[in-house]
């Protein structure tokens, strides 16, 4: 078998195309008893404190004399805010202050991360609602008290004077009014290439669909948390509980509060899951900082689950009207899509990037000579939306793959064969997509899409799987299989840097501007550093999420961490290595070329002697050390990595689903992911990312939905109503990692893996359900709840 699959109980194996060692130019050769950590499934550096209960998540951090903040939130979806009466709350023992919009007049709305936008800026969210509330949960006032229970008691007694306004809950409905003169469509996204009209004119057949993805989101198990502290002695303002993009947020917060970025620092603690939603700037982050300064006490805010489900970024809600022009042989000549993106009540930090990414990645890995897309970016009176793991991809893969299934059905071509005929071929790489998204001109850097599809089919023994399912269907079972192909994106640039320092004990510190959201970032960076430098990865300490330790950082989002920070780490480690060898050559009196670094010691090649400990080399390079001579002090170096464009991994998802015709329940029996990651730094962690992503995808496909009633009242505000998948809902996901197409864009050949698991899940499950119930094209909307599935079955029966 050419492809290795990690099934239950096995350590993941990577399908590496050659027998050649995976060494990277300039790195140490694998040592006999200590293999190169690059590419190894080593255990994680992060785990020990976490399994011992010694982690420090936001709620675990307390400062002496701290106050607790509690938000007063809008109970209605849209209303004029005529007044706030806090007198009763203020009279309560333990209540220190209650703020409304009038107390934060000088603070601007939370800005777009990528800079101002004339179109979008009028729709940004203030930190406390001013004259209107626009969704249930919109923060209206903040209560500060000496105890969280008192704060919650007091918040209940703040009364709001509200006058109802019309509620808009449907992004496809007629436009409403955000504010006088501001319609609820701030912008329209348009992209495309090729001659659409000509393609449709000559098409043998056209296929048209309306498809929708439901509103769901990351829902990390740890809720948000923010602790503000002002250290007057040093004039430094601190935000603890930061995540995802601490450096970018530091800059934005500095601007909002009128401080120098040197005088405000963000500290990431342990982060209980990010998935895109955690670590954006929300009103509460700004409020704790402002309050810490004004009230001169640390201020702690921990979101409760009820708040989390109605205020933290939601995602995914889109309606697409898509059509395809197809030639007689099944080649798709053009795709034309119009979609409506439900942004919720305000524009948040990402602006229109999810809609933009949807438009940019919708064509996927198919040739498609012509493409046109129009995205209506619309506000409604629901919780604001933003990115959730694989933003724009989960949605667009559902749309594209549903369309391809429908084309296959219409043309009478096997869906696999149809995809083969349309996939970009390896000799077409690098493949310019012909459009831009999020400031990146899309060029697929490398890939062999048909090969991965074939490997996936082989690994599953596709003909046999089909025969098995057919036999079961003949016995009356409603069981089927579905497949989806997709191209991911990762490594959004443009630049990231790290600083590596070796101390006199030989311990290595990598200071990064990256961030950890629990994905194994420390381990991966340590592995890359250790591999390049020649040390044990366990001797590498990775510092992240601290703006006081390094000036710049990209954080952890958009599949960036491994590609960007990893490549920068490699570059910095090369420089440290060069410095160490240079110094050691002088100390040992030999040529640099004859030296190597193995397991933290500089040794002569082919010599079994003890060599020099790296710590001693570091000592010799101390500023005060004579041995240093004219060399730059310190065994330390910065390294940068800059990339002109993103790198594009790709994958295939296959789902086997069984449907209960009586109840409408769909159960995923089996899920398989084939994914080319370029090169896997740690296959175990890649597999972990993928399996976890699949679970979330199954949630979005079958269970999770932020539903609202016609008054904009959210219907899923507890975890009994917002259904996260449990162990019982997830099969043991099978993963095949391949390394057929390393990225030519970075020195390690790596591509991102964080979003690989979730991308095509909705698409594959939809196809499997169609197959199971024998109704091609039935599923047009996610999630496929039992109520909806039963309605489909009823339609057929009726």
């Amino acid at each position: 078998m050419s492809a290795a699959i990690a099934a239950a109980g096995e350590t993941p194996v990577v399908d590496r195309p050659t027998e050649a060692p995976v060494a990277v130019p300039g790195t140490t050769a694998p040592h006999n008893d200590r293999p190169d950590p690059f590419g190894q499934s080593v255990t994680r550096l992060e785990d020990l404190p976490l399994v011992r209960g010694q982690g420090r998540f936001a709620a675990d951090l307390s400062f002496p004399h701290q106050l607790h903040m509690r938000m007063v939130r809008s109970p209605v979806a849209h209303a004029r805010l005529l007044g706030v009466d806090a007198s009763e709350a203020l009279a309560m023992r333990g209540v220190v202050a209650v703020w409304t919009a009038q107390d934060v007049v000088g603070i601007p709305c939370i800005p777009l991360r990528e800079g101002p936008s004339v179109e979008l800026d009028p729709y940004l969210q203030p930190i406390l609602a001013r004259d209107r509330v626009r969704y249930v949960g919109d923060p209206v006032a903040a209560v500060f008290a000496t105890d969280p229970f008192i704060a919650e008691d007091a918040a209940e007694r703040v009364s709001l004077d509200l006058e109802s306004l019309p509620v808009l809950t449907d992004a496809t409905a007629a436009l409403g009014e955000f504010a006088p003169g501001l319609p609820t469509q701030p912008t329209t996204i348009r992209k495309g290439y090729g001659d659409i009209e000509a393609a449709f004119a000559k098409a043998a057949c056209t296929v048209e669909l309306e498809l929708a993805t439901g509103r769901h989101s990351g829902v990390p198990l740890e809720t948000r948390g923010a602790i503000g502290r002002y250290d007057a002695a040093r004039d430094v303002l601190e935000l603890h509980g930061a995540a995802k993009v601490p450096h970018r947020n530091r800059d934005a917060l500095a601007r909002m509060l009128g401080r120098s970025p040197h005088a405000i620092h963000l500290f990431e603690l342990h982060v209980g899951g990010g998935f895109g939603v955690r670590g954006e700037i929300y009103p509460e982050d700004v409020l704790v900082l402002l309050a810490a300064m004004r009230l001169e006490r640390p201020v702690k805010w921990i979101e409760d689950r009820y708040e989390a489900l109605m205020t933290t970024n939601q995602s995914r809600e889109q309606v697409h009207r898509v059509r395809a022009a197809v030639a007689a042989d099944g080649f798709v000549l053009a795709m034309d899509d119009e979609f409506f993106h439900d942004q919720g009540a305000y524009v948040r930090t990402h602006g229109d990037r999810v809609a933009d990414m949807t438009a940019g990645i919708l064509p996927g890995g198919y040739v498609l000579p012509a493409y046109r897309v129009t995205g209506h970016y619309r506000l409604t009176n629901k919780t604001p939306a933003a990115t959730y793991r694989a933003p724009g991809r989960f949605e667009s893969s559902f749309v594209r793959e549903r369309l391809f299934d429908a084309i296959a059905q219409r043309m009478g071509i096997d869906p696999i064969e149809l995809r083969r005929r349309n996939l970009i071929r390896p000799e077409q790489m690098p493949f310019p997509r012909g459009i831009e998204t999020i400031e990146d001109n899309i060029v697929f850097d490398s890939g062999d899409y048909p090969l991965l599809l074939q490997k996936t089919l082989d690994a599953l023994d596709w003909p046999r799987l089909q025969a098995d399912l057919q036999a079961r269907r003949a016995q009356g079972e409603a069981v089927g299989v579905g497949l989806a192909c997709f191209v991911e994106k990762s490594g959004l640039g443009p630049a990231d840097g790290v600083r590596i320092t070796v101390d006199f004990t030989g311990a290595v510190e990598v200071v990064t501007g990256g961030a950890s959201v629990g994905q194994g970032f420390e381990t991966v960076v340590a592995q890359i550093c250790a591999s390049t430098l020649g040390v044990d990865y366990r001797r590498v300490r990775v510092v992240h999420g601290r703006t006081d330790r390094i000036q710049y950082g990209v954080g952890a989002h958009a599949g960036r961490a491994t590609v960007m920070t990893g490549s920068a780490t490699h570059n910095a480690a090369l420089r440290v290595r060069a410095k160490a060898l240079d110094m050691a050559a002088s100390m040992l009196g030999c040529a640099i070329e004859g030296l190597d670094i193995v397991d933290g010691r500089v040794i002569r090649r082919g010599d079994s002697g003890p060599g020099l400990a790296l710590g001693d080399v570091a000592s010799a390079l101390a500023p005060t050390a004579r041995a240093r001579g004219e060399r730059e002090p310190g065994l330390t170096a910065e390294g940068w990595y800059e990339t002109p464009s993103m790198t594009y991994p790709y994958g295939v998802h296959v789902a086997v689903v069984r449907v209960d015709r009586d109840t409408g329940a769909a159960r995923v029996e089996r899920f398989f992911v084939g994914y080319d990651v370029g090169r896997a730094v740690n296959p175990m962690l890649v597999e972990g990312q993928i399996v976890g992503g699949v679970a979330q995808g199954i949630g979005g496909a079958l269970l999770e939905e932020f539903a609202y009633d016609e008054n904009g009242e959210p219907l899923a505000v507890t975890l009994a109503d917002y259904l996260l998948p449990t162990l019982d809902d997830i099969p043991p996901v099978e993963v095949m990692i391949t390394e057929d197409a390393p990225s030519p864009l970075n020195p390690l050949g790596i591509k991102g893996a964080g979003e690989a698991g979730i991308n095509g899940v909705g698409a594959a499950i939809a196809a499997a359900i169609d197959d199971a119930i024998g109704q091609p094209g039935a599923v047009t909307r996610l999630p496929v709840t039992p109520v909806r599935l039963k309605a489909l079955l009823r339609q057929r029966a009726g």
């Binding site: 009820y306 009586d662 109840t663 039992p786």
Partner: protein
């Protein structure tokens, strides 16, 4: 998500508990046993009791035993036989293994497996579920279908209420504010009784969207005195007389079960709930009743 303040009482005897309850009842004083339903509703501040009377330290309330059926006011015609007595502190987990020989013990074990999740079952109680009266509660369906007698006690005395009269609506019962549900009594069915249960929920352990419990005897190969109970659909558990009438005297068979299931689906009047159209709830009732009957028969 923090409860409002309340006063806490931890009596050591039932009499003491009832005396405290009588005193604090006007200030929304409540009994807490397992607390697995009460505490979350307090966290959301849906309920704001002024006092909690914790009965966990009272010895003897975990009584789980059999006794001769006690004839009582609501059931003066109680057939001679044996009844299972389930005390106020009997946890769901007590039913993980059959608590009595025969079909009832097996049924209760089957049903217990559907109640929430393992740690919840360690603490939540049978009687607490009845007192909470969630329409999606499995034990409420058991009590209703099997015609349990519920023993209510207060400083004023004791009364016994039949399940039919006990459940009065969504989370609403015949318990007076100063009364405590001290035990539930269920008559043991005949050793040959057939019993079956089916439930549908979105995820394992979730509240049921529909469930059904059936029981019948077989006399000369024909169904005798069938009971068909449905819950999770209306505001309280209910017996479906139309389905029972269809089953009575029939030889068990798929088409008979299907007819009874259809009758049940037609008879229920599903609660209006967002995202849960009545037509769907009826379909679930049909499949649950049919499956419960099939399980009882197999």
């Amino acid at each position: 998500m923090r409860s409002v303040a309340f006063q806490y009482h931890a009596p050591r005897s039932l009499d003491e508990a009832l005396a405290i309850l009588a005193e604090v009842a006007p200030e929304d004083g409540r009994i807490i046993a397992g607390g697995q339903s009460l505490v979350p509703t307090m966290a959301f501040r849906f309920v704001r009791p002024g006092h909690l009377v914790d009965i966990n330290r009272i010895a003897g309330l975990d009584r789980l035993s059999e006794q001769p059926v006690v004839a009582s006011v609501p059931a003066p015609d109680a057939a001679p036989g044996t009844e299972l007595v389930i005390g106020a502190l009997v946890r769901h987990a007590a039913f993980h293994r059959p608590v009595v020989a025969g079909p009832l013990g097996r049924l209760l074990t089957e049903v217990a497996g559907h109640i929430a999740h393992y740690p919840i079952r360690m603490r939540g109680t049978f009687c607490g579920s009845l007192a909470h009266a969630d329409p999606a509660s499995e034990w409420c369906l058991v009590a209703s279908t099997l015609d349990a007698r519920l023993v209510l006690r207060s400083v004023r005395g004791e009364r016994i209420v039949r399940a039919d009269d006990f459940f009065t609506g969504v989370m609403s019962t015949a318990i007076e504010p100063d009364e405590m549900l001290v035990e539930a009594r269920i008559t043991l069915p005949s050793a040959g009784a057939r019993m079956g249960f089916d439930e549908f929920s979105r995820r394992r352990g979730d509240f049921a969207l529909a469930m059904a419990l059936v029981s019948f005897d077989l006399v000369d190969g024909r169904i005798h005195s069938p009971r068909v109970g449905v819950s999770g659909v209306e505001d309280r558990p209910c017996r479906i007389a139309q389905a029972e009438a269809l089953l009575e005297g029939c030889v068990p068979a798929i088409d008979v079960f299907q007819a009874a299931a259809r009758a049940a689906a037609a008879a229920v009047d599903p609660l209006e709930q967002p995202q849960l159209p009545a037509i769907y709830r009826r379909e679930l009732v049909e499949s649950s009743v049919r499956r419960a009957l099939e399980r009882a028969w197999v």
